[in-house]
Symmetry: D2
Subunit: 364 residues, 4 copies
Amino acid sequence: MRTGHEVPRERRAVTDGGEPTLTASVVGASGFAGGELCRLLTGHPNFELVQATSREYENKTLGYVHPNLRGVDVRFSSPEDLDSVDVLFASTPHGVSMEHIDAFRDAAGTVVDLSADFRLDEADAYDEWYDGHTAPEHLADAAYALPELGRETLEGADLIASGGCNATATMLALKPLVDSGVITPDDQVVADLKVGSSEGGAGGGAASSHPERSGVVRPYAPTGHRHEAEIQQELGLSLSFTVHAVDMTRGAAATCHAFPSERVTTGDLWGAYREAYDDEPFVRLVAGGGGVYRYPEPKAVAGTNHAEVGFELDPENGRVVAFSAIDNVMKGAAGQAVHAANVALGLDETAGLEFQGLHPVGSP
Amino acid sequence: MRTGHEVPRERRAVTDGGEPTLTASVVGASGFAGGELCRLLTGHPNFELVQATSREYENKTLGYVHPNLRGVDVRFSSPEDLDSVDVLFASTPHGVSMEHIDAFRDAAGTVVDLSADFRLDEADAYDEWYDGHTAPEHLADAAYALPELGRETLEGADLIASGGCNATATMLALKPLVDSGVITPDDQVVADLKVGSSEGGAGGGAASSHPERSGVVRPYAPTGHRHEAEIQQELGLSLSFTVHAVDMTRGAAATCHAFPSERVTTGDLWGAYREAYDDEPFVRLVAGGGGVYRYPEPKAVAGTNHAEVGFELDPENGRVVAFSAIDNVMKGAAGQAVHAANVALGLDETAGLEFQGLHPVGSP
Amino acid sequence: MRTGHEVPRERRAVTDGGEPTLTASVVGASGFAGGELCRLLTGHPNFELVQATSREYENKTLGYVHPNLRGVDVRFSSPEDLDSVDVLFASTPHGVSMEHIDAFRDAAGTVVDLSADFRLDEADAYDEWYDGHTAPEHLADAAYALPELGRETLEGADLIASGGCNATATMLALKPLVDSGVITPDDQVVADLKVGSSEGGAGGGAASSHPERSGVVRPYAPTGHRHEAEIQQELGLSLSFTVHAVDMTRGAAATCHAFPSERVTTGDLWGAYREAYDDEPFVRLVAGGGGVYRYPEPKAVAGTNHAEVGFELDPENGRVVAFSAIDNVMKGAAGQAVHAANVALGLDETAGLEFQGLHPVGSP
Amino acid sequence: MRTGHEVPRERRAVTDGGEPTLTASVVGASGFAGGELCRLLTGHPNFELVQATSREYENKTLGYVHPNLRGVDVRFSSPEDLDSVDVLFASTPHGVSMEHIDAFRDAAGTVVDLSADFRLDEADAYDEWYDGHTAPEHLADAAYALPELGRETLEGADLIASGGCNATATMLALKPLVDSGVITPDDQVVADLKVGSSEGGAGGGAASSHPERSGVVRPYAPTGHRHEAEIQQELGLSLSFTVHAVDMTRGAAATCHAFPSERVTTGDLWGAYREAYDDEPFVRLVAGGGGVYRYPEPKAVAGTNHAEVGFELDPENGRVVAFSAIDNVMKGAAGQAVHAANVALGLDETAGLEFQGLHPVGSP
């Protein structure tokens, strides 16, 4: 994993005398994260979307696939012929980016990859959790992007591996406990996730068809979810990880049951979470209080790059129940990628990511 | 109903040398439309939200009720003590605005009322469709706001009655047919609407509780829906109007079955709809074509101020099936109100209303 | 269309001295209606399910596909090798039954077909609404089954064409108006339907995937829906028919806007509906009254063979708004087929169809 | 807690020469569990429903509140005037049964209480988990009813405390691990539950209104859920218990993360679960395998008295992930109560509880 360096002058957004503009492209633009990237980039003050690729929908408008983008005058083009741009966002299935990474890096000074292909530091880890890696020589260049874990490696990075949705939700809940020492690698931690159907991607199979998928509480990864690998790498925790599909389209909620070896107080926890997140523009602490929304909920952040994080202390046994909620397509994918690009290129971190979300919102 | 006049110099947004800023307040800010107004105003380049009232939640933060606004540093204040502002948005139940209209107009040069209280020109019509009107002397001042019906009366208006959600959806579907003469007042028109649970407002009763309300197709206004009154006034049509509750939170979809006395062609219809809407920033024509989203759908506009409008011609009997879809909280309430204020005050029409919506989105 | 005749002695259920038992098979048992048929037949006092076919799932248990049937000890078998049974239910896509009808009738004295293949009397009508018919010589034998339209042709029938789901919903709403003369063939009638995702069948395509399908109000057949053909044949009405997909799995709700040429009273309507349905075991009249459920709703009949039917008179223009709600998989398919078989074979009409449904129920 | 004794002759269902019939009443019949009890009892071969009480809906038909019961000719009566019956089911909020228990027991030889009032053996435990108990003298008489934990105390019981929904789901998942010694009281066990909106009861408050409640993943009891008390009493486990509201109406799914002190194999687990449940008529083991439904899901048992139970072994750390899914209104309330009454009165255990559920079903 690369260490941060200064943003090269020629790749920095021009900041004198007005709005800097960088060209951007999206590879794999017909998927859900790809569509969201197109939306964010066309609304971003510093990016101009110049290419959006899709083999299946070549020459169709973006709005043909993404109805919310009907007003955007861009058509899908072939991924065979990549434009030269400042930033290329790759939003393709696992294994595709590692195959095309040379072309991606030739086309763009900064590549942000949303797949798992460059998230792990070691090629061996791919053999264990995924298939063998075909471009391991790029792994050392790649900066893992969950900006709340640290910006240093992101600033000026030219290859960014945007973190996985479920890993993001889980790490945001646990990071303050790890940083503050409340939880150590030997402590028992269970992460029980509930996620929306967009995690299955556009198209989906029989299990994703509406009659089968609606209204479910379905254990889809009881054990062995691949995102464990990046959590272990980034937080140093080996946790017990189980993911359930529930009835929403967007959203990932992590409930982490952590058993500190030493008792803590609610005050300790407030301290740890405030220390971790008080300066974070995209993290809100929500822990108890009144009203309807007393803990983190995916609904409250649907459509946004925000995460809600909160906790409760179990007086019976000292368990810390840490919650987080994100929109998996945004904070768990496209928003995180844009956030990382903003950091990498020296832009305002929140540029293009200001949407505050909706109330009420149904199934996000 | 007043006719338009020029925006008085002192009420126009300052446009020379930077971002003009006007002060704004929201009366009834704890409701769904009120919360959405707060969101739009805090993100609007030309407005500063200086007051948001709620009797029930006085002194609580906006985020206590509207979780998406947790980052906004504004607290509800009492409606008894109104700040002097440039624009006051009133988002209160039917009957409240007419009671307080003098106070509202004293507090603000421009009042935008989202209730039905000032939508009808004639006090008699209130007696028929609602209860008796208690402030009929203001009716002549009020400009009805569905901007797509015409901006003339809105420019410079100081009392604006923002159109009803279901009326808005219906009129957007039918206006091109009326304007082009395809439909005349004697023709049979059925409007069959499907709407989300937010139309029942925050709180709701037994019928709005989740176990009873989820998954419904429920005829809630088979006949006699009050929005017929404003449709009749604005379009000159007496139509057959039936509203159903369906399982979404936001959204209103109108399917209008119109029977022209003379046969038309699909080309005629394209002509009529393009003529009506080609220059409209918030209306998209969606009529057939390929892909999944071939006709207007609330999902495609959820969270936005956009309306989708489309049609199909029934070759069997010449029936025109005209569709429209809006987000009832936005284009049907808060977005429409801000749009109208933008027009009234000489601002950019789309200011603060640029959000493009999401794909995918669950139950909007 | 055949006229009724007496049930041949050898095909009648034995009724002396105990529970009669007939053997039954389901062709196309892996689909939604096929699975429901298996459930109904295994719980039916007079039927024994001896074969359930599925090419794709041959040798798998029924429970592999239909989780509610995990306790049923039956495996799918090949449709190539049909057992000889008393009753064969065919639940296959359009066009399959006409291809295999000779084999079906060889295998069983009574064939109940759930597809559209034998619903229309005239081969010409298939050319118009579907593709050409390949076994038109069987059309004259087939009895159309919406039992509420009349049992005469069903009693003793050996080929039964079970009515379509959307046609069933629509005809149940309108039949009392036609029978009583309130509506005549020249009167304007609009039928606006809202249906669940199970109508798209198991598997489904991109439009049926959960992220795209959830929360929709989607016009999927604005005009030209094929069920118009059977409505025209059975009720003699040419109506304006539009079908929308909404967010439920099961259910079809018809809202019919009928414009009688002569004014009627609410009392006339009560008379017409009571006359039509007072003796029907599966039809409930629901028209106004108090409480949450004041008109027909699919939720209220989910999982059952019941239909709810109701109406409202529009005092403004004399329009009759007639509602009906069914479970499309039950009253619109499997339940209707079993009901028809019960009638055809001289069994108790309600045998095996007694389930009363649930309250509350989410999205049915 | 009482021990079982033989069913007194005069309270046994008559089983010679035909269908035995016992009279039954439901106190609190307008609630969700109360309505379900009415449905089950009217369809039960051995019970006759003679009274259903509701203060609020006195003299209304059952169908006024429960639309699925529109065909049932019973009206709510006052709870002040209880009929003398064989079995009284009390389905009232916590605290009501303890207040009226003398009247209930005077009215009926067998009382089945669905509230928490008689679930705990010790009055002290009520002081800790609930409020103080006002009728502690009945506690020793009460048999706790989760029949899968043992029938001995239920047979002939005259006061039955039907187990809580979330406790039922959790205990069904864990009982085989406890019985087989895989888990001992010192082992770490986390139970993470996902439940439907019917658990909030009919009516509900602001948090239950459809716009706020739909699409949620909402931690509603992070710690301190009262059902822990009965789990501790019945299984001897002090577990970490957290309950989330998700978007379904019916259903409770428990995911239990258990950490045995000694490693077990998948074979051990199959042995433990088969030993526990192979003879249970209402428990299905679902653990892996193919198809869409590979683990327990509430959808698969919606509307039924069945529970699905399954497990997975985490090869990384020896964790046992034990799943269960029930319909909280049925197996978690009304079905469990009828099941217990069947056992108590010597009836066929499954009588009246044969419904197999539906496929597909939306949000159950």
